[in-house]
Each structure stands twice: as C-alpha cells, then as structure tokens.
Symmetry: C2
Subunit: 393 residues, 2 copies
C-alpha cells in the first residue's frame, strides 16, 4: 500500500508542478507525522528526511541505526545514513536535485498535512542556512489532501468493510437495549460485542462509543455517563471501528417508548425525519465539483426550515486512516474552519454526513452515514438509517 | 496524576519566571502533542488552548462540543467554550492575563517539548495579529524538560514496576532459548511470555523486542529477521513494557556456546566486560550537577580504551511516559544532538545507560539499564546484568 501511495504521490507532484516533497521527522513514535503512515511506513529515531521527487526518485536520509529497518521495508530506493548530523547529506542531496519548490508538511487548515513541528521547521531553516533551499519551502497541504482523499481500491474496500461491521454491531446492540440502562452500560455492551468480533475502536476509547440519552445529555464529544435511558428519551450513539488500518464513523438514533406508546411522539418523529432527510438531501446534492460549504448548506438549510436549531459543527468530514481524515470538510464558512469550506469535492473521497437536531424534552436525533463520491454523485458505503429504532419500555 | 503534574508545572513556571504556559492543539488524536498526556488528559477536536499560569490558574478554551468531556475530567477550573472560532476568547483571555512571556510547545532539540506544529504556530500568530502577544511567545522546552524529568513518587513506582516485569520476562525467556532459533522466533517467544502476563510493549511492535544475533546482525533499530542464533553468536535483545502508562527499556546479552565450550572465548568476554564496566563506571560518575556529555564520555572512553569501536549513539536517554522521554540526554557533542549534551543532570531523573560493543566474528555485546538520579549519585531501578547469559549448543 505504501508503494502504491508513493506512486500516486508522484502523479500528484506532477499535477501540482511541485518538484520535491519532503517529510522531515524525528522520534516518530512520540510525535507522529500522519504522512508517515501514507508514504514512509515504520519509525525513525533521529532527524530524517524522506524525499519523493516529480521524476519518481525516493530518497531517505536517516540516522545510521535506522538504516536497516528502512532497507527491510524497501519503500525508498536510495538510503543515505548519517552518524553525526543530517545537515551535510541533506544539503548535498538538495543541491543535486536543486528543486525550485520543496513541499514540507505544514498547514494552518489541515491537521493531517501539519506534521512538521515548529521546532523541526526552525531546525530545517537553520540546517539550510547559506543555501537557497530554506526560501523554497512550501506547504504540502494540497499534495496530502489529494493523496488522502483519492482512495485506492484497497483503501475503499477496507473502509466499506469497517462500515459493514459497524452496522452489524448496531443491529446486535439493538437486541440488547432495555429501558433503564445507563449510557455506560450501553457503551459497555457495544464494546463487548465489538471485542467478541475481534474488532478495535476507531478513536479514543473514552468517547468510542459516545452515548447520549435524554434531554439533559451532555452533547457531542463527551464520554458515557451514569445517566439512564428512560421512557421518552431519544438515545444516540456515535461509534466506529478500525479494519486493517481504516475507520468507520457512524451514528444511530433510538427512541425509548413510554408505557402505552406504540410510536414516538410527533415532535420526535419530526426531529428524526429532519435529520434523515437532511442526510439524504445532502447526499443527493453531493457530487464532484461542488464546494464543501454548499453541501453543508443543503442539510443545514433543511433543518432550519423544519424549525429546529442548526447544528454547531460541520455536516461531514472525510474518513480514511483516521475517523477524521483531514481536508475537504463539508462545513459552513466559520472562522474555525479556515479555507476548508471552499475545497472542491472530488471523485473517490469518502465523507460523513452527520447533522443533528435537539428535540426539546426528549434528547438529540442524529444520524451519521459515510458516502463515497462517484463520477456524478455519491453512494452510501453501508445501508443508511431510514427508520428510528425503538426500545420497548 | 494530571492535577499533580499541573501543580508541579506551576512551581516550575515560578522558578523560571514564565507567566503563562499554553498548550495549543487541535485534533489531538491524529497528531498528539506529548504535553497533553502531562497536563491536559483527554482529547480535543477543534483548536484549543490550555493555559496554566504562575498564580495557578487553569483555563481551557475549546470547541463547544469538547466542553463536556473536559468538564468531566475536571483538570481545568475555567472552561471557555466557543462555536465559531477560538480567536476572540483567546485574545480576551490573554488581554486579561497580559503575560509578559507565554511559553508554547516548540523546541529544536527536545521532541517532547515540540508538539506545536508549524501550521498551528502560523495560525496562532495570525490569531494574535494586532495584539502584543504574538511577539511574547517563547519555547516551553525548559518547563517541559523539568516537568517530565522530575518524577513524582507514583511515576517512579510505575517505571520501577515496568523494569521489574521486564527483568522477570528476560529470566523466563532465558529458559526457552535454544541454539538454532531465529531472531523472529526469539522475539515471538518474548511476546508470548509478555502477553501471558497481560503486559504491553513500550514501543513500536516491529522493533519491540529487537533481537540481534551473530556478526552479520543488522545493527540497532531493525526488526527481527530469519537469521538463526548459531553456536559462537552473541545475541542481544532490546525490550521494554508499559505499566500503567510508564515504560521500561532494557537490553540483555547472551552467548551461544559452541559444542565443547564451557565459556565464551576471551574476545567475547572482553567485549561483554567492556560494556558492563562502561555501564558501572558511568553509573558511579552520574550525579546531580554533571553534564550529559561528561557521563557519556566516561562510558565511551572506557570502551575505546579497551580497544573497541565507539558506539554510534548516545549513552542514555530519559525514560518515563515514553521509552525515549526527551531532553537531558547523556550524549556526545555531535550536531544531531543540538544543545542537549550540555543539559545538567538533576535529582529524580531516570536515565538509560546503554553502551554497545561489536565483537568481531561474534556479534554485538550490549547492556541497557535504567537508573534514577539520587541526591548524591544514582541507583539502578532493577538488578543490572553482571554476567553474560549462556545458551547451550
């Protein structure tokens, strides 16, 4: 997979007219530049530079004791080991390539293209002092964005499998749900089912699964509490698994019936339908060429038109090696999203669609699906939730 | 533990005369500033600032959906949530505190104090544009170095326990070793013993354990191969476990006897003794107030004086939450180590001592121990290797 992504990167360098892409890292187990998983593989201890060029050269400059491990991996054809310092071999290599532009991993907007630390940036500038190359550094964000977004067939297959597994876990969990269970108990049941299938969580265990029940529930991004799922509650779960390094990230909503109730109250159904239809309207609109904020506006607009409060987050993010896989967000034009709302949707990208509606007196209705962008639209990677799931009193 | 480390940090801010220490992060699960484990706990999604002041204030500014999780954690007394952007609440908070110096997490030399990415640094400067605070940013490296180095009693107890477990694992492995096993088989045996005890590895599974046998062995930092441990080989293992979040990192050396041999050849014993005595000479010299390069020189000098090649790395690094726990290295004055050789040893620090000697025709003799610096010297955290271990032919 690393070799295939490096080949893909060479194509992207040519598209963008960038001569060299350099991943500059150290002690990569402690502070892990996400580009390492894409185009390096393995770890390094000392300052190391992994260079990919437009013409397809793959050059690694690294501490001598890291040499053998990277020779074994075999992703970089030329390996230049050093003992005392990276300065001389790095300056020599750049002088030989003499690239007009060198992309390095920093980005104000995309955290997955921002693995170069500020200290390493300062060190690189110091190392390149007296050469013209310090001034030729540019951001790799567009390279990384395209490379992460354009899923290769085996990448898409793994995300699809992670989604299928998750949908199956939701179905198994559904059979176990009973009124009176606490958020923690519901989460523990899900983890037990997941572990029995030999799967692992897609993100931080404290919030995977996240479970929210009732009108006083904490809101997104908090861990499960001792709050009980009571009759009349909306209960929702945000959960994902990792399959061979790739993630799912889905949400489902349940309603806990009151004694004597055959169906949820009208306001709950109205909230659920608003969320479901927002997902489907956005999916119907989503296609190559549209901008992220335009997609967000379709879902947000529908929810506001139904008389509900707009959600305090983006409609969707990309999914891949991370549940939040960077760049190309479907989000409103808000300060915290920088330039990301204006990114153009491309074929092969995988997005979540995850609007949310608080239903007064009951809790939160929320659905999260994952779609892959196709040539002229998009398709769901797993069967979407179309009906609210009911827990008997 | 987080609260205790925050209290310790307040003391260090006062020692250093720094007014505010700000950990500025986003999507912390993807690119994880190591300071989060020290003084934040939990994760954040959006741009977030965690401020600790000299007077003991603890202020978190974060995306509204991360608020509940951090309220539940309870480490920050004041939590300021935002929806659209961090700029306004951050500028207001800094204006209220009006600190002459604001430490942020960047460092050219210490990767564990270098969690601020270059993109986030640029974003911070942009956010602080029009205020005086962008120019008041300084490196937090000395704060982080002191905070990681000065082990609290529960931190030291966990590292000690991790070392004790590792020494026990080496003893169990010893009983299983047979001539003819491959490096991969030896590594697999160690992992099996480890898992049976419910322990987890301290670093990258591909190189934990690292196993090297014979004169053609790959050198440090490569994964185990199909090379067999043959009679006449030196075999060594580099291994560590994680116990309640804290690491060990130890190395041991074996010699595989030839048929008819009762003891290793003289040259092997000379190599082993050179390593062992280098460890003990360095430990005898190590005490508060000496500089890292002075300690390295004691071990390096002994090995060269015995007629062996000097090792191509540092004598030792600190151990803690990471096997390589940053700053204060016992290393020679080489370019790649920056200013680190000149750091002064302090009481409460935990260092590895890990010289290495290639013995021509046999392989590599290497021992790694961990010591804690005491008031007037240091002590080993687990029984050091004093005798070469023998594998029968």
């Amino acid at each position: 997979m690393i070799r295939a992504k490096i080949e893909q990167a060479v194509g992207i360098l040519n598209e963008l007219g960038i001569d060299v892409w350099m991943t500059f890292v150290r002690e990569s187990a402690s502070l892990h530049d996400p580009c390492i998983d894409l185009v390096v593989g393995g770890h390094v201890t000392w300052q190391s530079a992994f260079l990919i060029t437009r013409s397809g050269e793959r050059i690694a400059i690294l501490g001598s004791l890291d040499k053998a491990a990277h020779e074994t991996l075999g992703h970089y054809a030329e390996i230049i080991p050093y003992v005392q310092g990276i300065g001389e071999p790095l300056r020599e290599t750049l002088a030989r390539l003499d690239p007009p532009r060198i992309a390095v991993n920093y980005s104000t907007d995309d955290e997955l293209a921002d693995g170069l630390t500020h200290g390493m940036y300062l060190l690189l500038q110091k190392t390149l002092g007296g050469t013209p190359y310090g001034e030729r550094l540019v951001s790799s964000e567009e390279i990384v964005s395209r490379l992460r977004s354009r899923k290769l067939e085996p990448e898409l297959a793994r995300i699809t499998r992670a989604c299928a597994e998750t949908v199956d876990l939701f179905a198994q969990l559904h059979k176990r749900l009973k009124a009176g269970m606490t958020e923690k108990e519901i989460a523990a049941a899900m983890v037990e089912i997941m572990e029995r299938k030999g799967l692992e969580r897609a993100w931080d265990p404290e919030q995977c699964p996240a479970v929210f029940t009732g009108p006083e529930s904490a809101g997104a991004h908090a861990g499960p509490t001792d709050r009980r799922m009571e009759p009349g509650h909306l209960m929702n779960m945000d959960f994902g698994v990792r399959f061979e390094g790739f993630c799912s990230d889905l949400q489902r909503t349940w309603y806990c019936l009151r004694p004597g109730e055959a169906a949820p109250p009208e306001i709950v159904m109205k909230g659920f339908d608003a969320v479901r239809d927002a997902v489907h309207n956005a999916a119907a609109f989503l296609r190559p060429g549209v901008k992220g904020h335009e997609v967000d506006a379709v879902a947000r607009g529908h929810i506001v038109a139904q008389g509900f409060e707009e959600y305090a987050h983006a409609l969707g993010h990309q999914v891949g090696r991370q549940a939040h896989d960077g760049a190309g967000l479907l989000c409103p034009v808000w300060e915290r999203y920088g330039e990301r709302p204006f990114a153009v949707v491309e074929e092969g990208q995988c997005y979540t669609l995850e609007p949310r509606v608080p239903v007064p007196g009951h809790g939160v209705a929320t659905i999260e699906e994952i779609v892959v962008v196709t040539r002229d639209g998009c398709r769901f990677l797993s069967p979407p939730q179309t009906e609210i799931m009911l827990v008997k009193p």
